[in-house]
Amino acid sequence: MRLVDQRRPHPVQGKGFILLVGGLAIALALAVAFSVGVGTVDVPVARVVAVVWAHLTGDTAGLDPLTDQIVWTFRTPRVLLAAVAGAGLSLAGLCLQTLVRNPLADPYTFGVTAGASLGAVVVMTTGIAAGIGVAGGAFAGSSLSLLVVFVMAQRGGRLIGTSLVLAGVAVAYLGMAGTGLLQLLVDPSELRGVMFWLLGSVAGASWADLTIPAVATAVTGLWLMSRGRMMNALATGEDTAAGLGVDVNRLRVLLLVAASLLTATVVSVAGGIGFVGLVVPHAVRLVVGPDHRKVIPVSLLGGAVFLVLVDLATRTVNKPNEMPIGIFTAALGAPFFLMLLRGRRRTLR
C-alpha cells in the first residue's frame, strides 16, 4: 500500500466550472443592479431594472426624469466602469503573472499603472503629443514603464523575480512623482485630480468613458482565451513551452502588449486602481486550478464582481461621503501581496 496524497487538485472541476461561470454571471448582474440602486438617493432594484430595461428596449417615455437621470446617466455607467475596470485589471495581472511566472506580478506592483497615469497626465496637462489622446498617452506610458522594468530585471535573457518587483516599485514611484508634480505645476488647486490619478475613481464616469476599456477588455479576453493552452505551457517553464511547440518570445511580447493595453485603457478613465490584478487571479486559481482556459473567463467575471462590490463599499461605509476606490483595493491587496511574498519566497530567487 503506497502512501499518496489524496487531496483533489482543486475544488471546482468538470461541470462545477460551468456552474461557477453561470453563477458569476448572475452574481455580476445582481451586483450591478443592486449597486446602481445605492447612493444618496436609494432606488429599489426593481426600479433600476425597469429603467435599464426601458433604455434597452428604447421605450423611455413613461420614466420619471429624475430617477432616469440618476439611474441611467450617472450610476449605471459608473457601476459598469467598475465592472470593466475590475475585469480588465484582473486580466492584465494574469497576463503579467504568466509572462514572468511569478504570482506577485500585477500592473500596480510593476509600475505599469503609475506609468499609464503619468502618460495620461502628460497628454492632458501639457498638450505634448495631444494627437494620441489621453488613452494613447496612457498606453505609451504603460508600455514604456513595462519595458523599463523588463530591461532592468533581466540577466542574459532570464527574468529575475526580485529584480522585477524592485524595478517595478522604483518605476511606480517615479511615475507617481511625475504625475503629482505635473498636476501641481499646471493647476495647484486641482488636488482632487492628483488623487484621482494616484488612487483611482469610477465616480463621474459617463457612457462615453466606457467604450474603449470595454472593447479592449472584451477583445483581449477573447484573444487570451485562444492562447490559453500556450499560456499553460509557458506557466510550466519557458523551455518546456518551447519544447511543446510554443513560440515563447512571440507569446511573451504579445502578453506584454495585452497587459499594457488593458492597463492603459482602464487607467485612462478610472485612474490608478491597484492590486486588483494581484488578488483576483490568485483567488481564482485557488478555486479552479491553474488551467488558463478556466482562469481567464473566471478572472474576467470575478474581477468585475469584485470591483463592483468594492465600489459599492466606497459609497456605503462612510455615507454620504465617498472614499477613493484605490484605498480599498490597496487595503485588501497590500496584505495579500505580503502574504504571497512570504508564501512564495522560493520562487523569488
Binding site: V4, R8, D239, G245, D247, R250, P290
Partner: protein, 254 residues
C-alpha cells in the same frame, strides 16, 4: 526520424558556448551527450528543441530545418523532458500530460476523447496511470520524470530529447527511467552525467568539451581510458558486469 546538426555555434552574452558542433543521430537510436559541467550539453539540446537560436549552423529533423519552420511544427517532431525545478503550479498529472497535445491543437480547440485516450495510453506506458488525478508537484522525483516522459509520448513525436533526466533520482528510479527510454524505440538524444549509464543505455555517444565535439561513436571507442582520464580526470575501465555480462564503465580516482 534522423537528426542532423551541422556546424552549430552559439553565443550567450558574447561568450561562445558551442563552436562548430556537428552531430548525426540515426532513426530509432539512442545517442548520449556526455561531457563535464558547462561543456554545452544542455545548450546543444536547447538548439534542437527551439528554445535557443544558434548564431550559425543548422538543425534538421528529417528533411525539415528546425529554425526555418515555425515553433508548432517543431513541437510535432520533437518532444523534450527538461530540467525544471520550480514547477510550482498546481497542474494535475493528467493536465500535465495533456499539455503534450499543445502542438496538435488549433486555437480554441478543446481536448477531446482522442486526446484523453492518448494521455491514458501514455501514462499506462510509463506506469503512472494510478497518479492521473494527483498534483504533479506532489509526486516523487522519479515519478515526476516518468510523467514528463508520458507528456512527451502524448506529443506523438518521432524524436525525444532528455536533459539529464536522472538528476536527483534514487538509483532504482534512474535505471527504471533509462530502461523505459530505451524501450520506447524513438530517435533519442539524452544528456547524461553518469558515464556508466551512458555506456549501458546508449547506442552512440557524443563527448563535448568546452562547446566542441571531442569524440563521437560507440561507447567503448568514445570512452577510452586515456580520453576519460584527460577529460574527467579519473582512471577507468570497461568491464563485463558480474550479474548481466554487459559492458560497464568503472572509475577510480587518479
Amino acid at each position: 526520424m534522423k537528426i542532423q546538426i551541422e556546424d552549430l555555434s552559439v553565443m550567450i552574452d558574447d561568450l561562445p558556448i558551442l563552436g562548430d558542433v556537428s552531430v548525426e543521430v540515426e532513426t530509432g537510436t539512442v545517442t548520449g551527450l556526455i561531457g563535464p559541467n558547462g561543456s554545452g550539453k544542455s545548450t546543444l539540446l536547447r538548439c534542437v528543441y527551439r528554445a535557443l537560436k544558434p548564431v550559425r549552423g543548422s538543425v534538421h529533423i528529417g528533411e525539415s530545418d528546425v529554425w526555418r519552420g515555425n515553433a508548432r511544427e517543431a513541437g510535432r517532431r520533437t518532444a523534450v523532458v527538461v530540467q525544471d525545478h520550480d514547477l510550482d503550479n498546481g497542474f494535475s498529472v493528467e493536465e500535465t500530460v495533456l499539455m503534450g497535445r499543445t502542438p496538435h491543437k488549433g486555437i480554441l480547440e478543446r481536448d477531446n476523447a482522442d486526446d484523453r485516450d492518448i494521455v491514458r495510453d501514455a501514462l499506462d506506458r510509463v506506469g503512472m496511470a494510478w497518479a492521473a488525478r494527483r498534483v504533479f508537484t506532489r509526486l516523487s522525483g522519479g515519478e515526476r520524470q516518468r510523467v514528463l516522459v508520458a507528456r512527451a509520448l502524448a506529443q506523438k513525436t518521432p524524436v525525444l530529447l532528455l536533459d539529464e533526466p536522472t538528476n536527483h533520482l534514487d538509483i532504482g528510479a534512474q535505471l527504471g527511467l533509462l530502461g523505459l527510454v530505451r524501450e520506447l524505440g524513438l530517435t533519442t538524444v539524452v544528456a547524461l552525467h553518469d558515464l556508466d549509464h551512458a555506456t549501458t543505455y546508449c547506442d552512440r555517444l557524443v563527448l563535448l568539451r568546452s562547446g566542441r565535439v571531442l569524440a563521437a561513436g560507440v561507447p567503448s571507442e568514445v570512452l577510452e581510458p586515456e580520453r576519460v582520464a584527460e577529460v574527467f580526470g579519473v582512471r577507468s575501465a570497461i568491464v563485463p558486469h558480474p550479474l548481466t555480462g554487459r559492458p560497464h564503465l568503472v572509475t577510480a580516482n587518479q
